[in-house]
Symmetry: D2
Subunit: 333 residues, 4 copies
């Protein structure tokens, strides 16, 4: 039985508490939030859990083996560091930290203390992403050409970060999970219209080879879109996360170039075959992730979404942020 302390009971915290609470081999011992209203909500929903506004209560508690940090990103580093220093494993909300340097320090600390770090890249635990990974691993798609994601809707405006730090961690962590090629450089364009933070951004990631990724994030769209196209030499995928069923569609479509008669004569031929929507597991991704965290802590094994995975995403976020500030100047990774 792993004792869990959760710091932060705002928008996402209740989901983290509920899921750890529902597991057989975990026990949420303490929830910590400074806001009286949040404390009240936590108490009401989980009468059997201690609620406090004193984070040291939680960091010091011998009942607590692991700490979930579900607070604004600029607080992640200090809280996770304190938890690790107190011998607690940590589960940190995405994005992992505000800077790559912070992430590196935490990774090092975790390693030194032999403690697990897991970054909450929830999407990696969805049926859709797992299915796409299987398709790629089984070489169903062939060599990948591009990854093109659109993640737009109206709000939720963040008060402390721009749209890149808010929405792109999803795509960057999924990309990192699915694509074997190494990202090389980032160009981000975008604009701010309402306050001091960019509310829409267009991010291009160049990889080694000719793989390319593009991420369109926007807080000002009248409609919600969550669509990713993935093109490969053999097949192509459309993942529409807003579909109730049939989230992942695999198209037996492609283009081939063959040499024609003349030296410079290239013939382009199209292949257009069936479409196939594999059954995708309908699970609550966060529940699976919480269970996986407990398993990693229990068995002492390193999660795949560890601090290093979190670091890679933070590096790309920093690069994109630097690029957008410099009006789209290329930033190497």
């Amino acid at each position: 039985m792993i004792g869990i302390g959760v710091i932060g009971y705002g928008y996402w915290g209740p989901n983290v508490v509920r899921n750890f609470h529902s597991l057989n081999d975990a026990r949420v011992a303490v929830v910590c939030d400074k806001r009286p209203e949040s404390m009240k909500r936590a108490k009401q929903a989980f009468p059997d859990v201690e609620v406090t506004d004193d984070v040291s209560r939680l960091l010091m508690s011998p009942d607590i083996d692991a700490v979930a940090v579900v607070t604004p990103v600029w607080t992640h580093f200090e809280l996770a560091k304190a938890a690790l220093e107190n011998g607690k494993h940590v589960f940190v909300e995405k994005p992992f930290t505000s800077t790559a340097e912070q992430a590196e320090q935490l990774v090092e600390l975790g390693s030194k203390k032999n403690l697990r770090i897991m970054v909450d890249h929830t999407f990696l635990f969805t049926g859709a992403v797992k299915k796409i990974r299987q398709l790629i691993d089984a070489d169903e798609l062939g060599k990948l050409y591009y990854y093109d994601s659109t993640r737009v809707n109206l709000g939720l405006f963040q008060h402390d970060v721009n749209v890149i730090w808010d929405l792109a961690p999803h795509d960057l962590s999924i990309m990192d999970y699915l694509i074997q090629d190494k990202p090389k450089a980032i160009i981000a364009t975008g604009e701010r219209h309402l306050n001091t933070y960019e509310d829409l951004a267009y991010i291009t990631v160049y990889f080694e080879g000719n793989m390319i990724a593009h991420i369109n994030v926007n807080w000002l769209s009248p409609v919600k879109v969550r669509t990713t196209l993935i093109g490969g030499t053999k097949k192509m995928v459309v993942w529409n996360d807003l579909e109730a069923d049939e989230k992942v569609k695999v198209y037996d479509k492609g283009v081939q170039i063959t040499a024609g008669q003349g030296v410079y004569d290239l013939l382009v031929s199209y292949r257009s075959g069936d479409m196939w929507a594999p059954k995708v597991d309908q699970i609550e991704a966060l529940r699976a992730e919480c269970q996986y965290f407990i398993d990693c802590v229990t068995d002492g094994k390193e999660p795949f979404n560890d601090g290093y995975a979190g670091l890679k995403v933070v590096k790309m976020l920093q690069a994109a942020d630097k690029s957008i500030k410099a009006k789209g100047r290329m930033v190497y990774l």
Copy 2:
């Protein structure tokens, strides 16, 4: 009755011939194509029209008042120039020319000779674009924030130009028609996978002020998408050109920033109201455009999609092309 000569009877030429042919005040006198197969098709479809492979026949003919140039882009300049020099008005397929310099020469020549030049930006004559223009003119959308277009599908690969020259002229001409702000600089990223031409590209256009545009064009997408989001301070538009009806949807949605209590305290509030799909004219755009060309020639009035409009699009295409070759370096307009 305006006599028309059409040069080029490949993919788009038959549509141009058919539409001019159907007008009461125009007469297609000659169609010219060098390919025997094209000549045969033209002869079969329009038994009453002379078909030739000799372009000078057409350029010299006293029966011909205006020439439509529906050939590959690299031939536009020479053909349009010859037509103007022979005193013919010209209707030129988009993109107008291969370089801004060529476009400028043609504009100057047309002006000197007092001949009409129309560039075939067909989309400007669709019910959808006309409706969006009306909404903007009536200030229904407020000040524009962004224009974000996705135009992707499988093929048709061009043999002589990249995906920017093939697909982006649509978006750039529509953008130029709808947006009053002046474009300032362009960044284009993208990649080639199959041959020497880029097959996907992501183009950002920075405007004066904080208006921004983005165009996603892709020859390697398994699905066809033709969707444009337009955000304004008052309302937002989604134009999905693949919808049979309801192509244009107007959302009474928005975001407002108001000052909060503290100096740096900004309050973001969302507005989410009705959606409205205005009736859009179901006309054949090209037919309306051909009629408009005949009217302009007859009445000696300057079309709004004239050589200068064509030049502006070519300038942006050149800038985008230069940028993509330089891996996304910003190119000023």
Copy 3:
């Protein structure tokens, strides 16, 4: 503060408990279910609520003012009757009873005892149905021509009733709520394929005048459909309950017949104008309904979805059931 007892903690019961539990002026005192597993689940989810398998505990309790009956339909009559006889107001799951006779008895008993009866026609509390009712009340649609609902999906097979008793109560209660005309006769066709209950049915309801309704219910559909078309002389509505936003679309479309030149010469003209998707409240319908029940009990006012409304639906269900058994013979209401 109204004390509530809930009988039945299977599929729907937990929602009823959760919603009454969340209200300020209600208190769920007792939950009753005979199944140990259900009792355990209730205890876990609501540690502050008494759980029992003894229904008389609940019926006798002085702490309980009102009883919610959330059990299989064949048990509704006995349980609701016992509750009324013990002086409790009742909230009964749809369909109200197994027979019209039972419903009439309960209505009479409630009236005699001056107790409230509410039948849980949840859909009447959704934003979509409320909006359509507003449109009809404001005469936006004109005189109604037809109501055509499709409600199909895979499963959930019921073990004690056919697809009509399972799915049609939704449509029949909505129809009864929206349509002022009086239903006159019912024809139901359908078939059974897997067991002794019909798994798909097509129900036509003839009204006085030329209004007509049709309901397509099916447990064997590979896809889920929840779409209702409503046609009127002025406008027409499409309600797609599976859309996230824009559930209700109002079409300014119609047909008009005008006399032509000759005596028998009728001219049909179509009108096709804008489409409009009014904003629909995004509320939890059941919560609004529970609050309304508490209000009716507190204020002694008769709910619109009372026992009589429940009776009308049961009469139509019985008629449809009789018709389908007689291979589509018309059954008058």
Copy 4:
């Protein structure tokens, strides 16, 4: 080279002329229509074809081997009969005739004279229907449970027939083509709102065994729907004819009943697997049908969509018409 005469150049006639005109082994010799405006249109579109208003010109012409009857249904019998009597093969627009008796006479006459009769059930030549037939023939769907079609839109009101005669021939001919079971009885309900003809109808067809079909046709729908669900023991199909690609989707979904422990204890289990959209040929169905007609005439072979197939559809139309007039009384076939 088969000489063709076409009678009727209204809505569908031009398509028939165009397609026969495009075939290598057919020659449209004469088009006949009494309306001067139609004659003018025909002359303009096909300058090489003789146009007449004298049907006997066409019936007597030795250049004409086969006659296409593309006129209102009430004229089919006389025209087709005259053509057969003059030794011409006939291609008749659907529905074949106004009565089963007429259809029987024509079938008999065609047989006696050894002439081909083809009824224009165009949908049977679409890629979608051919694909579904292949799936059924390959026993991919298992034994069929139901066929449920919705074919609704605004207009086109016919002046001489009701919505059943206008729209249901499509579904009935497809049904007859796909389903091996024998239809036994028909119940049709519906209503008229604007003139003397029913403008919406709901048709149930009972088959031998427990196969059942349902057809929803409506001239008063604000939206166009062309969707057919087909359920079988093994797999289920959704055919949406309005989809650009992916018209046919095959769902590996189903329900199974197995005996439980007790005698009356049936266990229902659901199967929910992948979805698969097989590639469907993108051909012009009418062109394929015209070619098939020419082949049948040339080779003297009996088409599968012959007079007898037309007769079966007319029988069902008559039964449905009789039923709807009798307010849904069952009519045996």
